[in-house]
């Protein structure tokens, strides 16, 4: 007895464990569970759309209310798409989708051949045919086989059933689409694991080394073209072209001449380099009583950069390059450097106390003996780079996903359950149809098919309509 208990306990434990696992898998693959995850994902994505992403803490402190800025920074909502919560929920959704595909969708999409109650299936019909049983069965099977139905026969419970399938292979379309998602996920994971990206700026005439790839870019020249176009509401200055002429040195150590243009990235040793932005760097000289200040900027500043005014609490930020200073010291509409200047934001402590327009190669007095001079501008090019070993997977995954969608949408897998009953030379062919997309969508085709069968079996007694079940 004791031995028997001992042998049963592990098996009972195993069965309990199996039940638990089954229940867990059932829960994770549950439709509403998946929907809830999607709703959470949608909510997090919405936060990412509403809250500015990837900005400095000071940006939120300046532009948001203090409470909201604290909330954004404490909850890391400033970079939500790369947060563990976001990536976790995406991973969880993918895992649940995979589970649902294998645990729920495929078993129901690939139903076993089984006996059914034909009159309980909404799409059903019966056709009366004449002849001996063997001939009738053969005729019916040939009828479906000739119309590209895959015909299979089974004896179930002593009754001979004929099953006919169309587009049976397309039942796997959903699986294909989900596989596409998984391949895309592999591709993006490869990027997270082995890829890198970044952005750098390089002044005309100088060079920059990309830290990750060690490629060296020397910007020989940056060219841009902006054309004034007359539109119905006035002149628009339309950007036409941005080009960086560079000498680039890759892993082979040889410098070569290349161009980087928008939409025409440069590939060096598997890393792509893109023309991302450009700007006007301006050298500033800051003096007090004609003597240069030691903490004045030593290199030309780019837009957004700034400097402190000597020992004072005042600071200046190079806010914007102004291509054309118009009459009355106004900012002209033409962004091309005709009569250029810079717009400086003036800060006292952290307080923005206004802005000042400084013409290039001319200076302005700031009072108390301070003076700032803006020198001749120098063009710089913003280059973005990215090494993404997952790209082929993402591309393949996208096409697999698309193929899966097309299979699922444009092919309708249907199954016919055919049972022939009767005696002597009068037989009733009962036919029921099911599809993976319900019954309504197949109603007309089913009617046409049954009509064809009737015509093929002439002279047959008119079919009897499936009636009565409704009442």
């Amino acid at each position: 007895m004791a031995t028997s208990e001992a042998t049963r306990s592990p098996s009972r434990l195993g069965a309990g464990l199996q039940d638990g696992v089954r229940e867990l898998l059932g829960q994770l693959s549950n439709f509403w569970f998946g929907m809830s995850l999607l709703a959470i994902w949608g909510f997090l994505t919405l936060i990412g759309v509403i809250v500015d992403q990837g900005k400095d803490a000071s940006f939120y402190e300046t532009n948001y209310t203090p409470a909201l800025a604290r909330l954004v920074l404490r909850l890391h909502l400033d970079n939500i798409y790369h947060s563990p919560a976001y990536l976790g929920i995406v991973g969880f959704i993918l895992a649940c989708m995979t589970l649902a595909t294998f645990w729920r969708v495929i078993p129901t999409r690939l139903p076993p051949l089984r006996a059914v109650k034909i009159d309980k299936i909404p799409l059903n019909a019966s056709v009366t045919v004449r002849g001996d049983e063997a001939t009738v069965r053969e005729r019916v099977e040939t009828f479906f086989a000739k119309r590209d139905w895959l015909v299979r026969k089974r004896e179930l419970g002593g009754v001979e059933w004929t099953f006919a399938d169309k587009h049976n292979w397309a039942r796997r379309g959903v699986l294909v689409a989900h596989v596409g998602f998984v391949v895309i996920a592999i591709g993006t994971t490869l990027y997270w694991a082995f890829g890198y990206s970044g952005q750098t700026t390089v002044l005309a005439g100088s060079s920059v080394t990309i830290p990750e790839s060690k490629a060296v870019f020397q910007l020989d020249r940056f060219r841009f073209r902006i054309d004034p176009i007359q539109t119905r509401s006035g002149i628009v200055y339309q950007p036409i072209d941005y080009v960086s002429d560079v000498h680039v040195t890759g892993k082979d150590g040889k410098a070569r001449l290349a161009q980087i243009r928008v939409n025409h990235p440069l590939d060096i040793d598997g890393t792509s380099y893109y023309q991302a932005s450009y700007g006007f760097a301006v050298p500033f000289t800051v003096t007090k009583d004609g003597v240069p200040l030691p903490n004045a900027p030593q290199t030309p500043l780019k837009e957004g950069e700034g400097f402190q005014l000597g020992d004072t609490t005042r600071a200046f930020q190079y806010a914007k390059f102004v291509g054309t200073i118009g009459p009355g010291n106004t900012i002209g509409a033409d962004p091309r450097p005709n009569n250029p200047g810079v717009l400086l934001n003036v800060f006292d402590g952290n307080q923005n106390i206004g802005s000042v327009l400084v013409p290039l190669e001319r200076g302005i007095d700031l009072g108390n003996g301070y003076r700032v001079d803006a020198g001749r501008y120098l063009l710089y090019s913003g280059i973005q780079y990215r090494h993404d070993p997952g790209i082929p997977f993402v591309g393949i995954g996208a096409f697999v996903l698309l193929a899966g969608l097309c299979i699922s949408f444009y092919f309708l897998p249907a199954r016919l359950y055919v049972r022939i009953d009767g005696a002597d030379r009068a037989w009733t062919v009962g036919i029921a149809a099911t599809t993976v997309k319900g019954y309504d969508i197949y109603e007309e085709q089913f009617a046409a098919l049954v009509g064809e069968l009737e015509r093929a079996e002439r002279p047959a007694v008119p079919r009897t309509l499936a009636a009565g079940a409704a009442t």
Binding site: F31, M35, L38, G42, T45, G48, V49, D119, P122, L123, A125, S197, I229, T231, R232, S233, V236, Q238, P239, I240, D241, V262, N263, P265, S272, Y274, Q275, A276, Q384, Y385, R386, D388, I391, V394, A398, F399, L401, L402, L405, C406, S408, F409, Y410, V436, K437, G438, Y439, D440, I441, E443, A447, A448, G451, L465, A466, A467, G468, A469, A470, T471
Partner: protein, 328 residues
């Protein structure tokens, strides 16, 4: 008035004529307004495509680089998709709605017409000839799907009101015993349509048949529309065209973004909004396989999807700044 403006005026006029005729057909189901409306739909659509080609031929600037061009293609494609489905599934009764929307969007497009503006560097790519037409066509398909879903809702709530007014389920028995035949003469049995245990014939409420038999004018008119099941399937079929188009559009957009901006996905507001819209329609397709969701709920989802598409298309372009803010 320049040639392209003349062509636009002709297109809008044709759409207005077609709208009036097909609305009359929708309400009366007389053949005459239908026969008048169809040629106008064809003419308006053809003239719009001619206008786009003419614009390209005269300026050598691809006409889809701004909101004017894309809205113009959007309205032309919505009418083209409508015509395609109408020819195949006899959907002319929805034409009044589709063409009213097409004419409205085209008129709105005119407010963004600033003349011929060359493309900014990011748009100077062969991808614009692939990505934009695909995405705009998907938006157009979703618009037509939203119209059929909207008609589903009109019919559903109309039938529901008949039921509330006390028309009993005698129609069920009538139909099952050989009433209006479905699908070329074959009768589909009544079956439990949803968890609401509302039994329907061909998707319609049983009360519809009895109310129509009693001579109720609303029921008579509703009976002239396709059954709820047919409207639902039509919406499904149109979404089945729109979703792959949107998917290919997003894929080609990602490909282009990789060439132009260095990353195939940057969570730009347009990308995010497109993904949200894609998710809504993917959800639609998933939920449509479930009996309890097919019909009313998926019709609402289709309408919601189109609202999301409109936000993605116009809302993001006009109100939110990002990489896709191409208005002019």
């Amino acid at each position: 008035m320049s040639t392209d403006q003349v062509l636009i005026v002709i297109a809008i006029s044709a759409y207005i004529m077609s709208t009036l005729a097909l609305f009359t057909y929708f309400l009366s189901r007389d053949r005459l307004p239908k026969l008048i409306g169809i040629p106008f739909a064809f003419v308006g659509c053809a003239v719009q495509f001619v206008e786009l080609v003419y614009r390209y031929q005269t300026s050598h600037i691809w006409p889809l680089t701004n909101l004017y061009g894309s809205l113009s293609l959007f309205s032309a494609m919505s009418v083209a998709i409508f015509i395609g489905f109408a020819l195949k599934y006899d959907l002319w009764f929805i034409g009044g709605f589709v063409e009213a929307l097409a004419a409205s969007f085209l008129a709105y497009a005119l407010t963004w017409n600033e003349g011929y503006l060359p493309a900014v560097p990011a748009l100077q790519s062969y991808w614009i000839k692939i990505h934009v037409p695909l995405v705009v066509s998907s938006y157009a398909a979703f618009m037509v799907a939203a119209v059929t879903a909207f008609l589903y809702l009109i019919k559903y709530y109309g039938e529901k009101s008949l039921e509330r007014r006390g028309f009993a389920a005698t129609g069920l028995r009538t139909a099952a015993a050989g009433g209006p035949a479905l699908g070329g003469g074959l009768q589909m049995q009544a079956y439990a349509e949803s968890a609401m245990s509302q039994r329907m014939v061909g998707g319609d409420f049983p009360a519809l048949a009895s109310a129509a038999a009693a001579g109720d004018p609303l029921a008579t008119w509703l009976s002239s529309l396709p059954s709820l099941a047919k409207l639902d399937i039509t919406t499904y079929r149109i979404v089945s065209v729109g979703l792959p188009l949107l998917t290919v559009g997003i894929i080609t957009g990602a490909w282009w973004a990789k060439e132009a901006w260095g990353a195939y996905w940057q969570w730009d507001p347009k990308e995010t909004a497109a993904l949200v819209s894609w998710t809504i329609y993917a959800l639609y397709m998933h939920l449509h396989t479930r009996n309890s969701w097919r019909g009313l709920r998926t019709a609402w989802l289709s309408v919601l999807g189109f609202i999301s598409i409109m936000f993605c298309y116009l809302g993001v372009n006009i109100w939110i700044s990002g990489l896709h803010s191409y208005k002019m």
